[in-house]
């Protein structure tokens, strides 16, 4: 089977001392970033991107570094979820539901170890799934013409709000904002400037890294100013960390089920990790029933969302690598990484740059073992990091964000845009308007418009061409259903709210 020869090539790249070194550094940094309250996988990776590029690493090395930061942050996120009741990002919310009660009962160590093992199982299975599914999907993706791509982008935007948003109009509005911003700059077809308002700085368009750093990292600073950093106190004590073998053994089926479900949720374009952790938690809750004690510190309630979350993170890489459509906020950030590296995701990636794909998959497999080793025996080191006061951490994050963007573009105007996006992110999040669709819009806007225009060139302006193939019709129908269904389903699927002290 060629998958094994491909993997062998990937491991050859991944086991080179330099790549291995970067993977270990990435895992370490990622776990720290994930553990820090207020930093999660998406904003953590966001502030690391500009810095990585100014270091001048080659494509594979930069990708390995940033994806191991991403995987590491997914692991690290559980530390602040469990010990502080602060989820680093949306998917980590489910881990707080039982993780924090467990920690308050004096089982913080157990919760950390179980969630670490669950993360490992989820991420490992998902990476294996990625290695098998991605090449298959990339063969299907060869049949995608512009009409199919347009339908796929439509699907991604319409399901993005999904059940993780509370208001479909707001989720759609966020996508529109992103798309509107993406249109600013030179028209790719005609080369004429548009929607720049005559501003020369906007001729090149708005850099997505600027938007990501502003919306994800700088807006967080304003939230910390608002709360005066009060949420940063360590609520529970962590005593000796031992491995609760019995609990791990008893949750084996939970972990496996959740990994499979999480992976599937992750593969769906636009759905992503939030859906993965949400669905797995709800599934295990209904399997366990009333006696399961979910919400009061159930072991399965910690294992399920962590396995689901990490499996979805791996699964989300499938549509991202094969179709160029990210499945979640963090994969959107990773797509930004690829685009900055001049790597175009899509079916051709697997044939043109097999070194990148398989090197990445192999180093993800290695990263997983590194992360398990870091996150179970060495978890106490990362817990110490939680004690960094927000009054030092948040100014530091701001300055790192600014310097990263500045050293990448050297333009004061981009820094002003970062501030603007920071304020925008603050207002949007206050209004409960999701920010991930804005990023997705900026990232995919031009590709989406181009696919529409190419389709119309092919059909000579006949709009029915968009329904010309069964794939595109199916995707458009799925997009409409995916947008409307949550409006009715929301009545039955209420999101569990955060546990309060």
């Amino acid at each position: 089977m060629d998958i094994f020869s491909n993997l062998a090539m990937g491991f050859e790249i991944a086991f080179s001392p330099w790549t291995l070194f970067l993977a270990v550094i990435g895992c370490f940094l990622g776990t720290i970033i994930g553990a820090l309250p207020g930093l999660g996988p998406s904003n953590g990776v966001a502030i690391m991107i500009p810095l990585t590029f100014t270091l001048g690493l080659d494509a594979t090395a930069a990708l390995v570094l940033l994806t191991s930061i991403y995987y590491g942050a997914m692991y690290g996120g559980r530390i602040s979820s469990i010990l502080l009741n602060i989820p680093g990002d949306e998917p980590a919310l489910m881990t707080t539901l039982d993780g924090y009660p467990m920690a308050k009962q004096g089982r913080a160590g157990d919760a950390l170890v179980i969630s670490g093992v669950a993360s490992f199982v989820g991420a490992l299975l998902a990476t294996i799934g990625l290695a098998f599914l991605a090449p298959m999907l990339s063969r299907i993706a060869y049949q995608f013409g512009p009409a199919e791509y347009f339908a796929l982008y439509l699907l991604a935007f319409s399901t993005l709000g999904g059940i993780s948003s509370n208001n479909q109009a707001k989720a759609a509005l966020a996508s529109c904002f992103g798309l509107m911003i993406a249109m600013i700059g030179l028209d790719p077809n005609s080369g004429m400037p548009r929607l720049t308002g005559g501003n020369l700085h906007l001729m090149d368009g708005v850099d997505f890294l600027v938007a990501i750093v502003g919306l994800f990292a700088v807006s967080e600073v304003f939230f910390f100013i608002e709360s005066h950093g009060k949420s940063g106190a360590l609520g529970v004590k962590l005593d000796k960390v031992t491995v609760p073998w019995r609990d791990i053994w008893e949750t084996k089926w939970t972990m496996l089920r959740s990994s499979v479900l999480g992976f599937i949720a992750g593969v769906l374009p636009g759905a992503g990790a939030s859906l993965g952790s949400f669905l797995t938690y709800m599934m295990e809750k209904s399997i366990a029933g009333e006696k399961g004690g979910f919400g009061k510190g159930a072991v399965k309630g910690v294992a399920a969302p962590e396995a689901g979350n990490n499996a979805a993170a791996g699964g989300a890489l499938v549509p991202m690598l094969t179709l160029g459509v990210p499945g979640s906020g963090t994969t959107a950030v990773l797509l930004a990484v690829l685009m900055t590296l001049n790597i175009t995701p899509g079916p051709t990636l697997f044939t043109d740059r097999p070194d990148v794909v398989w090197g990445l998959i192999a180093s993800l497999l290695i990263s997983n073992f590194v992360l398990l080793a870091m996150n179970v025996p060495m978890v106490k080191i990362f817990v110490k990091i939680l004690q960094v006061p927000p009054a030092v951490l948040m100014p530091g994050v701001t300055m790192i964000s600014f310097v990263g963007i500045y050293s990448l573009t050297g333009s004061y105007f981009d820094l002003l845009l970062v501030v603007g996006f920071g304020v925008m992110g603050y207002v949007l999040r206050k209004l409960d308007i999701p920010t991930v669709p804005v990023i997705m819009g900026i990232l995919l806007g031009n590709a989406m418009e181009k696919s529409l225009r190419d389709a119309m060139v092919l059909s000579d302006g006949d709009w029915t061409y968009l329904f010309g193939s069964s794939i595109s019709t199916g995707l458009i129908v799925a997009a409409v259903l995916g947008f409307i269904a949550p409006i009715f389903l929301r009545r039955f699927l209420t999101k569990p709210q955060r546990v309060s002290d």
């Binding site: 509107m180 028209d187 009054a391 948040m394 530091g396 002003l416 920071g422």
Partner: protein
């Protein structure tokens, strides 16, 4: 009239989207033309935004809890400082603006003057050493002509 925030935001959205549409109609056509052209897609997106803004006006969510008085002022001051920082970074160099702004933000998060000042100076020097000497970024530390 309750739930004002969503309604106002919806209204602003509609206004911005209309301005966007106006601006899109002004896009110059080029000799390289395709059936869709440069205007159509931006206009479609802006129309969807108008509809969403309308929904927000008609069916607003509950009011978010906005910060009041002093906190709002703190955020405004921080925004102003960051704007100043954007302009200052190139001519004045990294060290001085970073110490000032990082210290000020630290103070806004937790109002302890001495701690904030130390945090600002520490972050400024620490990050400069990290960026300049460990990561090797081309960053100037002091105002032009003063070395570093």
């Amino acid at each position: 009239m309750t739930r004002l925030t969503d309604r106002i935001f919806g209204l602003v959205t509609i206004l911005v989207a209309f301005m966007y549409i106006m601006s899109a109609t002004q896009i110059q056509a080029s000799f390289l033309s395709d059936p869709v052209g440069s205007k159509t897609f931006p206009i479609i997106v802006a129309v969807v935004a108008v509809i969403c803004g309308g929904v927000m006006i008609l069916r607003p969510d509950a009011e978010p809890d906005w910060p009041e008085g002093y906190t709002l002022l703190s955020i405004a001051i921080s925004v102003a400082l960051l704007i100043g920082y954007s302009y200052a970074l190139k001519p004045v160099g990294f060290l001085i603006p970073t110490a000032v702004v990082a210290g000020a933000i630290s103070y806004q998060i937790s109002p302890r003057p001495r701690f904030a000042a130390l945090a600002g100076i520490g972050l400024s020097i620490g990050l400069f050493v990290l960026f300049k000497f460990i990561l090797g970024l081309g960053l100037s530390g002091l105002p032009k002509g003063m070395g570093l």
